[in-house]
Symmetry: C2
């Protein structure tokens, strides 16, 4: 059973690193845990649904509450405080494209708006029920989760769009294949959601972003059905797959998704290295991707994040820190994690090359234990959010991407903005999570103290978020590298896309959804 | 001086392979060279321009004739026969984005339509002056050809969109960089044209298609200016670069293009191998791309195209054929050319791996001489078209891409369609020119006899083309892998994109160009 007001299954929890409470107490002062609302009270307070039950509509209060919000910080505040705002009036669980079409027609006839819902893992408010006079139907696509076809010759697999990450991999693995798409939300997020939000997996350097993996599929829209054939490449006009990627439910509901898969690799290794300074570390990350080293991941932490990681690594972390001290990699050391995926020979020669580049930059290798430790915890950060909340701390992340020449300045600007956004201290840590030949993503985590009043907590968060978005825009970053736009980034999108770009997006939504039925208010007004 | 009625510079011509006339005579019978029109007569017959000269408009008859047509087969018939159809009424040669904006406004005020023109190398009618009552302004962007910026750190170069292939490479080479985009039209086609038509270079397996290289830029549209920032990746909604890629001048005029560049490689080698059969050869090509061998090119000829290549290879070709006969690679042998680009170590290990895969499939390596011969002639096929025309033969190509499981059937269907389209014999040869993990492009050349009457020649071509397009659609191929849509493929596009896809494209053009000023009739009606 998933937790109703936060991330994950309480029976399979992830423990807070022992050193973290002390670190935050020291850095931020004591937290004040707010009082959580009880599920029974929230269910009892649910307003009567504005849509009739039956014929595919569930108006069960628990179903409505469980589909009301995603995993953004404002969502968490809403769920914890019990102030959920608008609930969907009904939830539907279609099993086929035909059922989706029928639901769109029924919603339209009832004057309802429709929120497409996959894993419910949006961290930008992408699946919240919109306020307003129109009743809200949330369409949960997770019953569409079959592997419909696997063309092993062409390395193409077609799934129902509601299939979640672990099912994707389990079904492909049974045939010796893998997709290799591992966002942090992997355990719950769905294939259709990955496409709709332009998701990026932790190993996208090797496997590709979802743009590279999404070969085709089927989208049901109010104006009709879009079938995208899985051509390997085409010059037949603009690529409509790219209009669907990032459309965040505004164009239609994906029912089938065809993805490019690979044979399971012989080896999938993550190893670590330490560099003596941020400058040298960024140069190493850039060199590795620009010289074409066949890596599946490069993840580089700033000195502050590196120090915190070692501290939270318990005994192994302390031993590593002591060893690095001895080798004179002191206070400015940066942890580089790199993944190598493929045949044994490729893995060996790529590791050898990384070692060579790291040593030339004055760094030292740290082997695979630190990589295995990262692999074990690769999906666990969202679990920690619950624990921190219960100790009175709020945690959120902001992320962006920029060209290499902007990256160092952007990191500096972004961290300074977060440190300076409140009257009191904020814990900030940054890593480069995805590298490209022309630039890198920047992923920053911030922790701050909660207030007893949820509205005050939200205000604090809003100041932090606004400061971060300003810094990103001024520093040459995109509004989002992997989280999407949703509600939380929507009003900053026009500055990035420009008036003509926004007009183009609006024209697309009108072509697919003339009456504005689908996910109104997300992505663009 | 470029030839006015065909490809290339007559002073730097490429000789017809000695064996080709004999081959065609034997296979197709004698050709009847049609009578060419004289440039002076064509200039004399030019109708008076419907736009006033001056203020950036050239109404010079030669300028108008030189910008009237591209390099499609119907264009060639028009140019050779002197029946050019509509001429542009004026040609403009802007030097800046501001001048482009001013031209758009002036054209709009004059009730003219605007045809964006790069290298004039469209083979699908993409830059023909449209017939109709509206005067036609052709905007030749080639004066915008500077290297505006090179960010060596981020490996990004910004050029004026009218820069031609050789200038791109020369300017980057001066800084130790390369783009690596080599379509067959490389000598004349432009960066902006590559983007507008979703071009693919011969080494796109290594360097990427233009979609992968196009990082950002500036588009001047009637509705405004679109500035695309060169983020390495983004989840901030649909990627508008992808709307511009393949827009074929319908959305606006590209003035600046930022591309992702690389350091010049240490080595850039093309080598050959022969496989014993088409089946084994396709399997080898698929294996090499799916197992991730770091190749920059895979080009695989059918047995018929292989035989013709060896025949046209003169003494070296005959010697090779004799050697292959001795090794019992007989009538079904297929030529595989593969490119390896990068550091010396990568090149060595990739070649070793290809040799291993080829031998395991019963093939033999043929070394680099055959690859060097291909490299020397890599841009020469369009020159041969002139020579064949003058001997009474017409030559054209059709191309597509499909998933691997469809490729063999598609090749068979396409060749059969061309062989059966006329009452007399047609010479047909096919190769796979670009391979991907999920499939391959298919590139088919056909040669047929011209008629004395240009209208009859066009009819023959139209029958061949229609048969080919039908075979492609029925065989699971895309309408075009690298040539684009233009006029010649326009009416087949709705079958591929579907009604909702076409509505989306129409909505985009309306958002950028509400009055339908730009390149009307191309890509979509």
């Amino acid at each position: 059973m998933e937790r109703w007001n936060g991330w994950g299954d309480p029976d399979h929890d992830v423990a807070l690193p022992a050193a973290l409470p002390g670190l935050l107490l020291h850095e931020l002062g004591p937290g004040t845990p707010p009082q959580d609302a009880l599920l029974a009270d929230v269910l009892g307070a649910a307003p009567p649904p504005r849509l009739p039950a039956g014929d595919g509509f569930s108006t069960d209060a628990l179903d409505r509450v469980l589909h009301a919000r995603g995993q953004s910080f404002p969502d968490l505040v809403a769920l914890r405080s019990g102030q959920l705002g608008t609930l969907p009036d009904a939830v539907a669980h279609p099993s086929s494209a035909a059922e989706v079409r029928a639901l769109l027609e029924r919603a339209s006839a009832a004057g309802a708006v429709v929120v497409p819902y996959g894993g419910g893992t949006s961290v930008v408010g992408g699946i919240s029920a919109p306020p307003g006079d129109a009743p809200v139907l949330t369409v949960d696509v997770r019953r569409m989760q079959q592997l419909h076809a696997l063309d092993e010759h062409s390395r193409l697999a077609t799934f129902g769009a509601g299939v979640a990450g672990p099912q994707v991999e389990a079904r492909l693995r049974a045939h010796g294949h893998t997709l290799g798409h591992y966002p942090q939300s992997f355990e719950r997020s769905t294939l259709g959601g990955w496409v709709a939000t332009r998701s990026s997996g932790q190993q996208s350097l090797g496997f590709g972003r979802i743009e590279d993996l999404f070969a085709g599929g089927r989208l049901e829209a109010p104006a009709g059905t879009l079938e995208l054939q899985p051509f390997p490449a085409s010059a037949a006009g603009p690529d409509l797959r790219q209009a669907v990627l990032g459309s965040e439910g505004r164009l239609g509901i994906l029912t089938d998704v065809t993805v490019r898969v690979r044979r399971l690799p012989e080896a999938d290794v993550v190893a670590g290295a330490f560099l003596p300074s941020w400058d040298s570390a960024v140069t190493v990350a850039r060199t590795l991707v620009q010289d074409g080293t066949p890596l599946s991941m490069v993840r580089l932490s700033t000195p502050a994040e590196t120090a915190a990681s070692l501290l939270m690594g318990g005994r192994a972390g302390r031993a590593m820190a002591a060893a690095l001290d001895l080798r004179r990699l002191g206070g400015q050391r940066c942890l580089l994690l790199f993944g190598v995926t493929g045949g044994a020979g490729t893995v060996r020669s790529a590791r050898r090359h990384v070692t060579h580049v790291v040593r030339a930059a004055g760094g030292v290798g740290a082997g695979t234990p630190i990589g295995r430790s990262w692999q074990r915890g690769r999906f666990s950060a969202p679990y920690l959010r619950n624990h921190l909340w219960e100790r009175g701390y709020g945690v959120d992340t902001v992320e962006t991407a920029a060209v290499w020449s902007s990256v160092p300045g952007l990191v500096e600007r972004l961290e300074a903005a977060l440190h300076g956004a409140l009257e009191e201290r904020v814990h900030v840590g940054t890593h480069l999570s995805h590298v490209y030949r022309s630039g890198s993503s920047v992923y920053t985590t911030f922790v701050f103290r909660l207030c007893p009043d949820p509205a005050e907590t939200l205000q604090r968060w809003a100041r932090l978020k606004a400061a971060a978005l300003r810094a990103i825009a001024e520093g040459g970053g995109t509004l989002s590298h992997q989280h999407g736009v949703g509600l939380d980034h929507r009003d900053a999108l026009p500055a990035e896309k420009g008036p003509l770009g926004m007009a183009a997006l609006a024209a697309l939504t009108t072509a697919f959804d003339p009456a504005g039925l689908l996910n109104p208010g997300k992505l663009l007004r």
